[in-house]
């Protein structure tokens, strides 16, 4: 497969299970095998107990908005035709409150509010190598997703 996407697994393979999880429609995050602490972003070591024995577990992709931003300026060529778009930082109660970023796919003209419940949507754009985890507010439809 060829791609120009500037994302995907890191050269050292550390976060490959995350990307492979997306291919299978799952959100997978790191968890320390020793002390059970959830870890994100990807690390080789557990910051809590300093074990190098880190596993990957599947997490239910539901959470709440921790913060958000609406981008209007084309900082990235890859997203220039999507402007404006809203990126949310989602706090995951099923992963010890770890937070992950993602683009909001529902009606983004309506501001999210911190605390809004959101649910993950796995989006695999045609021709793209890697699917991406997007989010929509619970109770909304995915109308507007193709904005």
């Amino acid at each position: 497969m060829t791609t120009t996407e500037p994302w995907g697994p890191a050269p050292d393979g550390l976060d490959r299970p995350y990307w492979e999880g997306l291919l299978e429609g799952e959100l997978r995050l790191q968890r320390c095998t020793g002390c059970s602490t959830w870890i994100w972003g990807p690390q080789a070591i557990c910051g809590t107990c300093h074990s190098f024995d880190i596993g990957w577990e599947t997490v239910e992709p539901v959470g709440t908005v921790y913060s958000w931003n609406r981008s209007w300026y084309p900082y990235m060529d890859e997203y220039a035709d999507k402007l404006p778009y809203v990126t949310v930082l989602v706090e995951l109660p099923h992963a010890g409150g770890r937070r992950v970023l993602g683009i909001l796919t529902d009606d983004i003209d309506t501001n999210p509010e911190i605390g809004d419940p959101v649910v993950g949507v796995f989006e695999h754009t045609e021709g793209a190598t890697w699917p991406l985890l997007r989010w929509r507010r619970t109770g909304t439809t995915e109308e507007g997703e193709q904005r």
Binding site: W7, N69, Y73, M76, T87
Partner: protein
């Protein structure tokens, strides 16, 4: 050895800056660096061959051997690049120079930074600095990352957006008295600010720093030497750098509510943090500060930095304190960014703010704060490493 042992050991005795509209530098970064170092030496009244220490930050190829070699200095003793943090480490570079002098590692240290779009492109577009887990979600610039942190400060922290606006309007008001400011002759009113285009919500255009070409240098020597050179050295009362472990470094998984701070606040496990260490080193507190230069990459992080330092109350009260009246010289309670700052004067990665902090001690600012004895410079907020430095007049020693 406590940080207080450095109090008053070193002083800034020479400053120089030059800035141009971005992309319009007449010379390379190296040439501009050499020019401002020579100008700062003239300002200090020292021979450039005496410089034996070189400190910079945020990258750049022109290290102490290269610049010292070009100047054919007597001896190179200290050549340090601050690690990480971009503009966050700007004040740390000054502290680094003072540490070299205080410990006898070097005697005459120059802190410098040069930026030319021709040589290194634009800072705000350094997008591939960010990894996959940002880029995949449309986040590829410091503006967007700081915007999300600011949004939480506003929405969850309860800081009114008017606090950001007051900081911006105060900077532009100051710039109207500074003929070399890029915002000189271009006053900004509330309506224009509010109606300016959105960049990365909640930031409008005027919430974002400009970028300039240019170069800045500050020359530091020991307090003893400083007294022989000029009547108004800016003594380094204290400097501190760092951040809580993991701050702004774990893909937005900062501990607790650190996410909406600027990184100067309390550290992990009860450790003090940058601001508290700064005050402890100086033996002073926020109420003792006469004038502040705060690095505004964006308005929101600058407000967060003032809150972290205890200069501005958190939450809704920030809106009461952060008014144009309070923030402007000569009569404001806490004049900030008195040259116009990164927003309205120029942006050479923030080191130009340190020059203005020194001018306030000398009384040579175009917006002087009468009888200023303490002058605070806060480096780039919300970076993974942040720093601040407090200058004092001789009377504060």
């Amino acid at each position: 050895m406590s940080a207080g042992n450095m109090r008053g050991a070193a002083a800034v005795v020479g400053v120089a800056e030059q800035h141009y509209r971005r992309g319009e530098a007449p010379h390379s970064e190296k040439r501009m660096t050499l020019e401002v170092i020579l100008e700062a030496c003239v300002d200090a009244g020292i021979n450039p061959r005496e410089i034996d220490g070189f400190v910079s930050y945020a990258g750049g190829p022109n290290d102490g051997a290269i610049i010292g070699g070009a100047l054919l200095i007597d001896e190179l003793r200290w050549s340090n690049m601050m690690w990480g943090g971009g503009g966050g480490s700007v004040a740390a570079a000054i502290t680094n120079a003072a540490a070299a002098i205080a410990t006898g590692q070097a005697e005459c240290v120059v802190v410098y930074r040069a930026m030319s779009q021709e040589d290194t492109g634009r800072l705000g577009y350094a997008k591939y600095h960010y990894g996959s887990h940002f880029l995949a979600h449309g986040i590829g610039s410091p503006a967007q990352i700081c915007a999300m942190r600011t949004q939480r400060m506003l929405e969850h922290g309860g800081v009114p957006r008017s606090a950001m606006r007051a900081l911006v309007l105060a900077a532009y008001q100051h710039a109207q008295n500074n003929p070399t400011a890029q915002g000189y002759g271009r006053p900004l009113d509330e309506d224009t600010y509010e109606k300016s285009r959105l960049i990365a919500e909640p930031f409008h255009l005027f919430d974002c720093s400009r970028e300039s070409d240019g170069a800045v240098a500050l020359v530091l020597v020991s307090a003893e030497r400083a007294k022989t050179l000029r009547p108004d050295p800016a003594y380094l009362l204290a400097g501190a750098q760092g951040a809580p472990g993991g701050f702004s470094e774990l893909i937005d998984n900062d501990l607790g509510e650190q996410y909406m701070s600027a990184g100067f606040g309390p550290a992990n496990n009860g450790k003090p943090g940058v601001a508290q260490r700064l005050w402890a080193g100086a033996g002073l507190g926020p109420d003792d500060v006469d004038v502040v230069q705060v690095y505004e990459n964006f308005s929101g992080p600058a407000v967060a930095a003032l809150i972290d330092h205890g200069l501005c109350p958190p939450g809704e009260a920030a809106g009461t304190f952060m008014t144009v009246e309070n923030l402007t010289a000569p009569g404001g309670k806490l004049p900030i960014n008195t040259s116009g700052g990164n927003l309205a004067d120029s942006f050479v990665n923030g080191l130009n703010l340190a020059v203005e902090a020194v001018r306030q001690i000398r009384g040579t600012s175009t917006n002087p704060v009468a009888n200023a004895k303490t002058s605070l410079f806060i480096g780039g907020p919300m970076a993974p490493l942040v720093s601040s430095v407090l200058f004092g007049h001789e009377d504060t020693l």
